[in-house]
Protein backbone atom coordinates (compact mmCIF):
# COMPACT_ATOMS: atom_id res chain seq x y z
CA UNK A 1 0.00 0.00 0.00
CA UNK A 2 1.22 3.50 -0.78
CA UNK A 3 2.46 4.65 2.61
CA UNK A 4 0.65 7.97 2.57
CA UNK A 5 -2.67 6.19 2.97
CA UNK A 6 -1.68 4.10 5.95
CA UNK A 7 -2.27 5.31 9.49
CA UNK A 8 1.39 6.11 9.96
CA UNK A 9 1.41 8.07 6.73
CA UNK A 10 -1.53 10.18 7.87
CA UNK A 11 0.01 10.71 11.28
CA UNK A 12 3.34 11.91 9.90
CA UNK A 13 1.57 14.11 7.36
CA UNK A 14 -0.42 15.77 10.14
CA UNK A 15 2.82 16.42 11.97
CA UNK A 16 4.38 17.98 8.88
CA UNK A 17 1.35 20.20 8.28
CA UNK A 18 1.43 21.37 11.88
CA UNK A 19 5.15 22.07 11.68
CA UNK A 20 4.78 24.11 8.52
CA UNK A 21 1.78 25.88 10.01
CA UNK A 22 3.74 27.02 13.03
CA UNK A 23 6.75 27.97 10.91
CA UNK A 24 4.53 30.26 8.85
CA UNK A 25 4.65 32.81 11.68
CA UNK A 26 8.24 33.45 10.66
CA UNK A 27 6.87 35.16 7.58
CA UNK A 28 4.13 36.96 9.44
CA UNK A 29 1.12 36.34 11.66
CA UNK A 30 -1.55 34.69 9.48
CA UNK A 31 -4.70 32.59 9.62
CA UNK A 32 -2.88 29.34 9.05
CA UNK A 33 -0.68 30.02 12.07
CA UNK A 34 -3.64 31.14 14.13
CA UNK A 35 -5.41 27.88 13.34
CA UNK A 36 -2.51 25.74 14.51
CA UNK A 37 -1.83 27.99 17.48
CA UNK A 38 -5.35 27.45 18.78
CA UNK A 39 -5.24 23.75 17.95
CA UNK A 40 -1.99 23.54 19.89
CA UNK A 41 -3.40 25.41 22.90
CA UNK A 42 -6.55 23.30 22.86
CA UNK A 43 -4.74 19.99 22.69
CA UNK A 44 -2.34 21.08 25.40
CA UNK A 45 -5.22 22.13 27.66
CA UNK A 46 -7.03 18.87 26.96
CA UNK A 47 -3.93 17.00 27.94
CA UNK A 48 -3.67 19.04 31.14
CA UNK A 49 -7.29 18.31 31.96
CA UNK A 50 -6.58 14.63 31.48
CA UNK A 51 -3.44 14.60 33.61
CA UNK A 52 -5.18 16.38 36.48
CA UNK A 53 -7.09 13.20 37.15
CA UNK A 54 -4.98 10.45 35.62
CA UNK A 55 -1.56 11.55 36.83
CA UNK A 56 -2.08 13.95 39.68
CA UNK A 57 -5.19 12.93 41.54
CA UNK A 58 -6.05 9.28 40.88
CA UNK A 59 -2.88 7.69 42.26
CA UNK A 60 -1.44 10.26 44.64
CA UNK A 61 -4.79 11.21 46.19
CA UNK A 62 -7.87 9.11 45.42
CA UNK A 63 -6.23 5.70 45.70
CA UNK A 64 -4.57 6.64 48.98
CA UNK A 65 -7.82 8.03 50.29
CA UNK A 66 -10.20 5.18 49.49
CA UNK A 67 -7.57 2.45 49.31
CA UNK A 68 -7.03 -0.12 46.59
CA UNK A 69 -8.32 -3.68 46.31
CA UNK A 70 -5.96 -6.10 48.07
CA UNK A 71 -5.11 -8.04 44.90
CA UNK A 72 -3.73 -4.90 43.27
CA UNK A 73 -1.89 -3.56 46.26
CA UNK A 74 1.71 -4.30 46.95
CA UNK A 75 3.33 -3.32 50.18
CA UNK A 76 1.86 -1.59 52.16
CA UNK A 77 -1.61 -3.14 51.97
CA UNK A 78 -3.96 -0.68 50.37
CA UNK A 79 -6.07 0.52 53.25
CA UNK A 80 -7.73 3.85 52.64
CA UNK A 81 -6.85 6.93 54.65
CA UNK A 82 -10.05 8.90 54.64
CA UNK A 83 -8.50 12.00 56.17
CA UNK A 84 -7.12 12.83 52.72
CA UNK A 85 -10.61 14.09 51.84
CA UNK A 86 -9.70 17.25 53.75
CA UNK A 87 -7.45 18.20 50.84
CA UNK A 88 -10.50 18.64 48.62
CA UNK A 89 -11.94 21.73 50.33
CA UNK A 90 -8.40 23.02 50.70
CA UNK A 91 -7.81 22.77 46.96
CA UNK A 92 -11.20 24.25 46.17
CA UNK A 93 -10.37 27.37 48.19
CA UNK A 94 -8.23 28.36 45.22
CA UNK A 95 -11.37 28.74 43.15
CA UNK A 96 -12.60 31.50 45.45
CA UNK A 97 -10.23 33.84 43.62
CA UNK A 98 -13.06 34.86 41.32
CA UNK A 99 -15.31 35.76 44.24
CA UNK A 100 -15.41 39.47 44.96
CA UNK A 101 -15.88 38.99 48.69
CA UNK A 102 -13.94 35.87 49.61
CA UNK A 103 -11.06 36.07 47.15
CA UNK A 104 -8.58 36.17 50.02
CA UNK A 105 -9.26 32.48 50.65
CA UNK A 106 -7.29 31.55 47.54
CA UNK A 107 -4.21 32.62 49.44
CA UNK A 108 -4.52 29.66 51.81
CA UNK A 109 -3.66 26.86 49.34
CA UNK A 110 -1.12 29.17 47.69
CA UNK A 111 0.33 29.86 51.12
CA UNK A 112 0.72 26.16 51.81
CA UNK A 113 2.44 25.50 48.50
CA UNK A 114 4.67 28.54 48.96
CA UNK A 115 5.43 27.55 52.53
CA UNK A 116 6.52 24.09 51.46
CA UNK A 117 8.65 25.64 48.74
CA UNK A 118 10.28 28.21 50.99
CA UNK A 119 11.11 25.70 53.69
CA UNK A 120 12.91 23.63 51.09
CA UNK A 121 15.05 26.60 50.10
CA UNK A 122 16.51 26.68 53.56
CA UNK A 123 16.95 22.93 53.50
CA UNK A 124 18.73 22.74 50.15
CA UNK A 125 20.86 25.87 50.18
CA UNK A 126 24.01 24.38 51.54
CA UNK A 127 23.66 21.10 49.70
CA UNK A 128 23.54 23.07 46.46
CA UNK A 129 26.20 25.67 47.11
CA UNK A 130 28.44 24.27 49.83
CA UNK A 131 30.35 22.03 47.50
CA UNK A 132 30.62 24.82 44.96
CA UNK A 133 32.14 27.12 47.57
CA UNK A 134 34.62 24.40 48.46
CA UNK A 135 35.27 23.71 44.77
CA UNK A 136 36.17 27.36 44.23
CA UNK A 137 38.80 27.33 46.96
CA UNK A 138 41.70 25.76 45.05
CA UNK A 139 45.41 26.28 45.67
CA UNK A 140 46.71 29.41 43.94
CA UNK A 141 50.43 28.89 44.53
CA UNK A 142 52.31 26.10 42.75
CA UNK A 143 53.93 23.33 44.76
CA UNK A 144 56.59 22.74 42.17
CA UNK A 145 58.59 24.78 39.67
CA UNK A 146 59.98 21.74 37.88
CA UNK A 147 57.58 22.33 35.04
CA UNK A 148 55.48 25.42 34.39
CA UNK A 149 52.64 23.54 32.72
CA UNK A 150 51.18 20.15 33.47
CA UNK A 151 53.67 17.67 32.02
CA UNK A 152 52.67 15.04 29.53
CA UNK A 153 52.44 12.05 31.87
CA UNK A 154 52.44 9.52 29.03
CA UNK A 155 55.87 10.67 27.94
CA UNK A 156 57.39 10.59 31.42
CA UNK A 157 56.83 6.85 31.79
CA UNK A 158 56.87 6.84 35.58
CA UNK A 159 56.21 4.06 38.02
CA UNK A 160 52.63 4.13 39.41
CA UNK A 161 53.63 5.71 42.74
CA UNK A 162 55.81 8.35 41.15
CA UNK A 163 53.11 9.04 38.59
CA UNK A 164 50.55 9.58 41.34
CA UNK A 165 53.01 11.90 43.07
CA UNK A 166 53.58 13.84 39.86
CA UNK A 167 49.86 14.14 39.30
CA UNK A 168 49.32 15.43 42.81
CA UNK A 169 51.56 18.46 42.22
CA UNK A 170 50.07 21.87 41.54
CA UNK A 171 51.82 23.39 38.53
CA UNK A 172 52.09 27.08 37.76
CA UNK A 173 49.55 26.91 34.94
CA UNK A 174 47.06 25.24 37.25
CA UNK A 175 47.69 27.80 39.96
CA UNK A 176 47.04 30.61 37.48
CA UNK A 177 43.85 28.95 36.28
CA UNK A 178 42.68 28.47 39.85
CA UNK A 179 43.49 32.10 40.58
CA UNK A 180 41.53 33.34 37.56
CA UNK A 181 38.64 31.13 38.55
CA UNK A 182 38.68 32.59 42.03
CA UNK A 183 38.91 36.15 40.76
CA UNK A 184 36.00 35.59 38.39
CA UNK A 185 33.73 34.16 41.05
CA UNK A 186 34.58 36.89 43.54
CA UNK A 187 34.31 39.77 41.06
CA UNK A 188 31.06 38.52 39.57
CA UNK A 189 29.65 38.10 43.03
CA UNK A 190 30.72 41.58 44.04
CA UNK A 191 29.04 42.95 40.91
CA UNK A 192 25.83 41.87 42.64
CA UNK A 193 26.50 43.80 45.83
CA UNK A 194 23.71 46.33 45.86
CA UNK A 195 23.96 48.12 49.15
CA UNK A 196 27.56 49.27 49.05
CA UNK A 197 28.30 52.73 47.88
CA UNK A 198 30.18 52.36 44.61
CA UNK A 199 32.43 55.26 45.63
CA UNK A 200 34.60 52.76 47.38
CA UNK A 201 37.29 52.25 44.79
CA UNK A 202 37.88 48.60 45.45
CA UNK A 203 34.23 47.62 45.19
CA UNK A 204 33.92 49.70 42.05
CA UNK A 205 36.86 48.20 40.24
CA UNK A 206 35.98 44.70 41.36
CA UNK A 207 32.46 45.03 40.09
CA UNK A 208 33.42 46.55 36.75
CA UNK A 209 35.99 43.81 36.28
CA UNK A 210 33.18 41.46 37.26
CA UNK A 211 31.11 42.80 34.39
CA UNK A 212 33.82 42.09 31.84
CA UNK A 213 34.38 38.62 33.23
CA UNK A 214 30.63 38.06 33.09
CA UNK A 215 30.74 38.87 29.39
CA UNK A 216 33.38 36.20 28.80
CA UNK A 217 31.13 33.81 30.66
CA UNK A 218 28.05 34.83 28.71
CA UNK A 219 29.94 34.50 25.44
CA UNK A 220 30.99 30.99 26.36
CA UNK A 221 27.46 30.14 27.44
CA UNK A 222 26.09 31.47 24.19
CA UNK A 223 28.66 29.51 22.23
CA UNK A 224 28.02 26.27 23.97
CA UNK A 225 24.23 26.50 23.92
CA UNK A 226 23.68 27.79 20.41
CA UNK A 227 24.46 24.45 18.86
CA UNK A 228 21.56 22.81 20.60
CA UNK A 229 19.06 25.16 19.02
CA UNK A 230 20.24 24.22 15.59
CA UNK A 231 20.14 20.54 16.45
CA UNK A 232 16.41 20.74 17.02
CA UNK A 233 15.90 22.47 13.70
CA UNK A 234 17.96 19.79 11.99
CA UNK A 235 15.78 17.19 13.67
CA UNK A 236 12.68 18.89 12.27
CA UNK A 237 14.20 19.01 8.82
CA UNK A 238 15.04 15.33 9.12
CA UNK A 239 11.43 14.70 10.04
CA UNK A 240 10.13 16.63 7.05
CA UNK A 241 12.62 15.57 4.40
CA UNK A 242 13.58 12.04 5.37
CA UNK A 243 10.76 10.67 7.51
CA UNK A 244 7.99 12.27 5.46
CA UNK A 245 9.17 13.28 2.01
CA UNK A 246 11.63 10.49 1.40
CA UNK A 247 9.99 7.61 3.26
CA UNK A 248 6.34 8.38 2.72
CA UNK A 249 5.84 10.58 -0.33
CA UNK A 250 8.61 9.04 -2.40
CA UNK A 251 8.05 5.67 -0.71
CA UNK A 252 11.79 4.97 -0.50
CA UNK A 253 13.57 3.35 2.39
Amino acid sequence: MYPLFTYDGIKVTCGVLATVGLYSVLYRENKFYRFFEHLFLGLAAGWTLLTIWVENLKGPWWDIMVGVPPEKAGDPIGNGNWAYILLLPLGLMGYMVFSKKHNWMSRIPIGIILGLWSGQQIQIWYNTYGKQIAGTAQPIWPTTWSSLTVPNYDKLQLAPDALAAAKSQVYLSQAITNFLFLVTVVCVLSYFLFSFDAKSKMVKSASSLGRYLLMIGFGAIFGSTVLMRFTLLIDRMYFIWIEWFNNIILNRH
Partner: protein, 302 residues
Amino acid sequence: MNLFLQSKVPNFWAQPFNSQGIWMGVLGGLLVGILIFLGLMFMPAQFRRPVVAFCTFIGGAYWVLLYIFPAPIDLQKTEMPTGPVESIGKWLTDANPVVVSISGTVTAFMLGLGIFSLLSIHLKRISRRQKDWAYSVILLVSLVSMAFFGYADYISRQGPDGTKLDLQANWGFVNYGRDLLFDGLLQQMDAAMFSVIAFYILSAAYRAFRIRSIEATILLSTALLVILSLMGAVAFVWNDAVKNMANGNDFLMNFQLTEIAGWIRRTFETSSLRGIAFGVGIGALAMGLRIWLSLERTGGGA
Protein backbone atom coordinates in the same frame (compact mmCIF):
# COMPACT_ATOMS: atom_id res chain seq x y z
CA MET B 1 1.01 4.52 66.49
CA ASN B 2 2.19 6.47 63.54
CA LEU B 3 -0.41 8.49 61.69
CA PHE B 4 1.73 8.87 58.65
CA LEU B 5 2.33 5.27 57.66
CA GLN B 6 -0.29 3.56 55.63
CA SER B 7 -1.18 1.06 58.24
CA LYS B 8 -1.55 -2.59 57.43
CA VAL B 9 -3.88 -3.16 60.30
CA PRO B 10 -7.11 -1.17 59.96
CA ASN B 11 -7.59 1.47 62.62
CA PHE B 12 -9.64 4.61 63.06
CA TRP B 13 -7.65 6.50 60.41
CA ALA B 14 -7.14 3.67 57.95
CA GLN B 15 -9.98 1.48 56.76
CA PRO B 16 -9.98 -1.34 54.17
CA PHE B 17 -10.86 -0.68 50.57
CA ASN B 18 -14.57 -0.39 49.77
CA SER B 19 -15.59 -1.06 53.37
CA GLN B 20 -18.37 0.77 55.11
CA GLY B 21 -15.80 2.36 57.38
CA ILE B 22 -13.87 4.07 54.61
CA TRP B 23 -16.94 5.64 53.04
CA MET B 24 -18.18 6.80 56.43
CA GLY B 25 -14.79 8.29 57.06
CA VAL B 26 -14.70 10.07 53.71
CA LEU B 27 -18.19 11.42 54.25
CA GLY B 28 -17.38 12.56 57.78
CA GLY B 29 -14.14 14.16 56.62
CA LEU B 30 -15.96 15.94 53.84
CA LEU B 31 -18.47 17.35 56.31
CA VAL B 32 -15.66 18.59 58.54
CA GLY B 33 -13.98 20.10 55.50
CA ILE B 34 -17.13 21.93 54.46
CA LEU B 35 -17.53 23.25 57.97
CA ILE B 36 -13.96 24.56 57.98
CA PHE B 37 -14.55 26.10 54.57
CA LEU B 38 -17.71 27.87 55.73
CA GLY B 39 -16.03 28.88 58.95
CA LEU B 40 -13.25 30.56 57.02
CA MET B 41 -15.75 32.30 54.75
CA PHE B 42 -17.50 33.95 57.63
CA MET B 43 -14.41 34.59 59.68
CA PRO B 44 -13.82 38.23 60.71
CA ALA B 45 -11.46 40.02 58.34
CA GLN B 46 -8.71 40.69 60.89
CA PHE B 47 -7.99 36.94 61.19
CA ARG B 48 -7.37 36.47 57.48
CA ARG B 49 -3.71 37.34 57.35
CA PRO B 50 -2.81 35.32 60.45
CA VAL B 51 -4.55 32.25 59.00
CA VAL B 52 -2.64 32.49 55.72
CA ALA B 53 0.61 33.19 57.57
CA PHE B 54 0.04 30.21 59.83
CA CYS B 55 -0.57 27.83 56.90
CA THR B 56 2.56 29.08 55.16
CA PHE B 57 4.63 28.73 58.29
CA ILE B 58 3.52 25.16 58.96
CA GLY B 59 4.31 24.18 55.38
CA GLY B 60 7.82 25.59 55.54
CA ALA B 61 8.49 24.39 59.06
CA TYR B 62 8.32 20.78 57.93
CA TRP B 63 11.33 21.00 55.64
CA VAL B 64 13.27 23.20 58.03
CA LEU B 65 12.74 20.71 60.84
CA LEU B 66 13.70 17.86 58.57
CA TYR B 67 16.94 19.71 57.90
CA ILE B 68 17.67 20.06 61.59
CA PHE B 69 16.48 16.53 62.38
CA PRO B 70 17.44 14.44 59.36
CA ALA B 71 16.57 10.80 58.92
CA PRO B 72 18.41 8.66 61.50
CA ILE B 73 21.55 7.03 60.16
CA ASP B 74 21.18 3.43 59.08
CA LEU B 75 17.78 3.00 60.69
CA GLN B 76 16.21 -0.23 59.47
CA LYS B 77 12.49 -0.69 59.10
CA THR B 78 12.29 -3.09 61.98
CA GLU B 79 14.33 -0.97 64.37
CA MET B 80 13.20 1.59 66.87
CA PRO B 81 14.86 5.00 67.04
CA THR B 82 16.84 5.75 70.16
CA GLY B 83 16.59 9.09 71.84
CA PRO B 84 14.46 12.14 71.07
CA VAL B 85 16.55 13.43 68.15
CA GLU B 86 16.20 10.19 66.25
CA SER B 87 12.54 9.87 67.10
CA ILE B 88 11.79 13.29 65.66
CA GLY B 89 13.90 12.47 62.63
CA LYS B 90 12.06 9.21 62.06
CA TRP B 91 8.68 10.82 62.58
CA LEU B 92 9.48 13.55 60.06
CA THR B 93 10.84 11.02 57.59
CA ASP B 94 7.70 8.94 57.85
CA ALA B 95 5.64 12.05 57.23
CA ASN B 96 7.48 12.65 53.97
CA PRO B 97 5.04 10.87 51.60
CA VAL B 98 2.13 12.66 53.20
CA VAL B 99 3.72 16.07 52.83
CA VAL B 100 4.66 15.27 49.25
CA SER B 101 1.14 14.23 48.41
CA ILE B 102 -0.38 17.29 50.12
CA SER B 103 1.55 19.72 47.95
CA GLY B 104 1.00 17.56 44.86
CA THR B 105 -2.71 17.24 45.43
CA VAL B 106 -3.33 20.87 46.25
CA THR B 107 -1.38 21.86 43.13
CA ALA B 108 -3.42 19.41 41.08
CA PHE B 109 -6.68 20.93 42.26
CA MET B 110 -5.39 24.33 41.24
CA LEU B 111 -4.65 23.08 37.73
CA GLY B 112 -8.38 23.06 37.14
CA LEU B 113 -8.37 26.82 37.63
CA GLY B 114 -6.20 27.22 34.56
CA ILE B 115 -8.65 25.26 32.45
CA PHE B 116 -11.44 27.31 34.01
CA SER B 117 -9.72 30.54 32.95
CA LEU B 118 -9.27 29.27 29.40
CA LEU B 119 -12.88 28.13 29.12
CA SER B 120 -14.21 31.40 30.48
CA ILE B 121 -12.21 33.51 28.02
CA HIS B 122 -13.07 31.43 24.97
CA LEU B 123 -16.71 30.72 25.78
CA LYS B 124 -17.20 34.44 26.30
CA ARG B 125 -15.60 35.13 22.96
CA ILE B 126 -17.84 32.62 21.21
CA SER B 127 -21.06 33.73 22.86
CA ARG B 128 -20.35 37.38 22.07
CA ARG B 129 -19.18 36.55 18.55
CA GLN B 130 -16.03 38.58 19.17
CA LYS B 131 -13.23 38.82 16.63
CA ASP B 132 -11.63 35.46 15.87
CA TRP B 133 -14.34 33.52 17.68
CA ALA B 134 -14.05 30.68 15.19
CA TYR B 135 -10.55 29.96 16.48
CA SER B 136 -11.95 29.68 19.98
CA VAL B 137 -14.25 26.95 18.67
CA ILE B 138 -11.20 25.11 17.34
CA LEU B 139 -9.54 25.44 20.70
CA LEU B 140 -12.51 24.07 22.59
CA VAL B 141 -13.09 21.20 20.17
CA SER B 142 -9.47 20.12 20.35
CA LEU B 143 -9.53 20.45 24.14
CA VAL B 144 -12.55 18.20 24.48
CA SER B 145 -11.37 15.61 21.97
CA MET B 146 -7.91 15.38 23.51
CA ALA B 147 -9.39 14.87 26.96
CA PHE B 148 -11.91 12.32 25.65
CA PHE B 149 -9.52 10.19 23.61
CA GLY B 150 -6.85 10.49 26.24
CA TYR B 151 -9.13 9.27 28.98
CA ALA B 152 -10.64 6.47 26.89
CA ASP B 153 -7.14 5.33 25.99
CA TYR B 154 -6.12 5.44 29.64
CA ILE B 155 -9.11 3.34 30.66
CA SER B 156 -8.42 0.80 27.93
CA ARG B 157 -4.90 0.34 29.25
CA GLN B 158 -5.96 -0.49 32.79
CA GLY B 159 -6.36 -4.09 33.77
CA PRO B 160 -4.15 -7.12 33.22
CA ASP B 161 -4.22 -6.91 29.42
CA GLY B 162 -2.93 -3.37 29.37
CA THR B 163 0.51 -4.33 28.13
CA LYS B 164 -1.03 -5.79 24.98
CA LEU B 165 -1.74 -2.27 23.80
CA ASP B 166 1.97 -1.58 23.63
CA LEU B 167 1.64 -3.25 20.24
CA GLN B 168 -0.08 -1.21 17.57
CA ALA B 169 -1.73 -4.33 16.12
CA ASN B 170 -4.02 -4.58 19.16
CA TRP B 171 -5.21 -0.99 19.05
CA GLY B 172 -8.82 0.10 18.93
CA PHE B 173 -10.36 3.34 17.71
CA VAL B 174 -9.69 5.33 20.86
CA ASN B 175 -6.05 4.27 20.94
CA TYR B 176 -5.58 5.49 17.39
CA GLY B 177 -7.40 8.71 18.24
CA ARG B 178 -5.15 9.46 21.17
CA ASP B 179 -2.03 8.55 19.26
CA LEU B 180 -2.92 10.84 16.37
CA LEU B 181 -3.80 13.78 18.60
CA PHE B 182 -0.93 13.36 21.01
CA ASP B 183 1.97 11.85 19.09
CA GLY B 184 0.90 13.01 15.65
CA LEU B 185 0.02 16.59 16.52
CA LEU B 186 0.76 17.81 20.02
CA GLN B 187 4.27 16.42 20.31
CA GLN B 188 5.17 17.45 16.77
CA MET B 189 4.00 20.97 17.44
CA ASP B 190 6.10 21.05 20.59
CA ALA B 191 9.15 20.11 18.60
CA ALA B 192 8.28 22.54 15.82
CA MET B 193 7.87 25.50 18.15
CA PHE B 194 11.07 24.58 19.96
CA SER B 195 13.00 24.52 16.70
CA VAL B 196 11.68 27.95 15.68
CA ILE B 197 14.31 29.27 18.08
CA ALA B 198 17.02 28.39 15.57
CA PHE B 199 15.60 30.97 13.15
CA TYR B 200 15.33 33.58 15.85
CA ILE B 201 18.89 32.99 17.00
CA LEU B 202 20.08 33.60 13.49
CA SER B 203 18.19 36.87 13.12
CA ALA B 204 19.00 38.06 16.63
CA ALA B 205 22.70 37.31 16.20
CA TYR B 206 22.75 39.00 12.82
CA ARG B 207 21.04 42.09 14.18
CA ALA B 208 22.55 42.48 17.62
CA PHE B 209 26.01 40.95 17.59
CA ARG B 210 27.95 43.97 16.50
CA ILE B 211 31.36 44.93 17.75
CA ARG B 212 30.20 48.18 19.27
CA SER B 213 31.78 48.17 22.69
CA ILE B 214 34.49 46.35 24.59
CA GLU B 215 31.88 44.22 26.30
CA ALA B 216 30.25 43.19 23.03
CA THR B 217 33.63 42.34 21.53
CA ILE B 218 34.55 40.18 24.50
CA LEU B 219 31.23 38.39 24.35
CA LEU B 220 31.39 37.83 20.62
CA SER B 221 34.94 36.57 20.42
CA THR B 222 34.50 34.13 23.29
CA ALA B 223 31.29 32.86 21.74
CA LEU B 224 33.00 32.36 18.39
CA LEU B 225 35.89 30.44 19.89
CA VAL B 226 33.63 28.10 21.81
CA ILE B 227 31.33 27.51 18.84
CA LEU B 228 34.27 26.62 16.64
CA SER B 229 35.65 24.23 19.23
CA LEU B 230 32.38 22.35 19.36
CA MET B 231 32.38 21.86 15.59
CA GLY B 232 34.27 18.60 15.36
CA ALA B 233 35.63 19.19 11.86
CA VAL B 234 36.98 22.68 12.57
CA ALA B 235 38.49 21.59 15.86
CA PHE B 236 40.11 18.63 14.17
CA VAL B 237 41.75 20.71 11.46
CA TRP B 238 42.98 23.34 13.94
CA ASN B 239 44.27 20.76 16.41
CA ASP B 240 46.03 18.93 13.62
CA ALA B 241 47.75 22.11 12.50
CA VAL B 242 48.88 22.81 16.06
CA LYS B 243 50.14 19.26 16.48
CA ASN B 244 52.23 19.58 13.35
CA MET B 245 53.59 22.94 14.39
CA ALA B 246 54.31 21.91 17.96
CA ASN B 247 56.24 18.92 16.74
CA GLY B 248 56.45 17.31 20.12
CA ASN B 249 56.62 20.50 22.16
CA ASP B 250 54.19 19.99 25.01
CA PHE B 251 53.74 23.67 25.72
CA LEU B 252 52.52 24.44 22.23
CA MET B 253 50.07 21.56 22.41
CA ASN B 254 48.04 23.70 24.80
CA PHE B 255 47.07 25.87 21.88
CA GLN B 256 44.83 23.24 20.38
CA LEU B 257 41.39 24.73 19.82
CA THR B 258 39.66 22.27 22.11
CA GLU B 259 42.22 23.01 24.84
CA ILE B 260 41.77 26.77 24.59
CA ALA B 261 37.99 26.58 24.50
CA GLY B 262 37.94 24.02 27.25
CA TRP B 263 40.14 26.25 29.37
CA ILE B 264 37.88 29.25 28.79
CA ARG B 265 34.83 27.23 29.65
CA ARG B 266 36.35 25.74 32.77
CA THR B 267 37.90 28.97 33.94
CA PHE B 268 35.41 31.65 32.99
CA GLU B 269 32.11 30.08 32.03
CA THR B 270 31.81 27.85 35.06
CA SER B 271 33.06 30.52 37.42
CA SER B 272 30.84 33.34 36.20
CA LEU B 273 27.84 31.04 36.27
CA ARG B 274 28.83 30.15 39.79
CA GLY B 275 29.15 33.78 40.80
CA ILE B 276 25.65 34.42 39.47
CA ALA B 277 24.35 31.24 41.07
CA PHE B 278 25.64 32.24 44.52
CA GLY B 279 23.84 35.55 44.24
CA VAL B 280 20.63 34.06 42.91
CA GLY B 281 20.76 31.31 45.52
CA ILE B 282 21.06 33.80 48.35
CA GLY B 283 18.26 35.83 46.77
CA ALA B 284 16.03 32.76 46.69
CA LEU B 285 16.96 31.91 50.26
CA ALA B 286 16.08 35.44 51.41
CA MET B 287 12.83 35.40 49.49
CA GLY B 288 12.02 31.95 50.86
CA LEU B 289 12.65 33.19 54.37
CA ARG B 290 10.47 36.27 53.89
CA ILE B 291 7.66 34.17 52.46
CA TRP B 292 7.95 31.50 55.12
CA LEU B 293 7.74 33.99 57.95
CA SER B 294 5.20 36.15 56.06
CA LEU B 295 7.46 39.18 56.44
CA GLU B 296 6.31 40.73 53.20
CA ARG B 297 2.98 40.93 51.53
CA THR B 298 2.85 39.70 47.97
CA GLY B 299 1.96 42.51 45.65
CA GLY B 300 3.92 45.05 47.61
CA GLY B 301 0.80 46.80 48.89
CA ALA B 302 -0.17 47.60 52.43
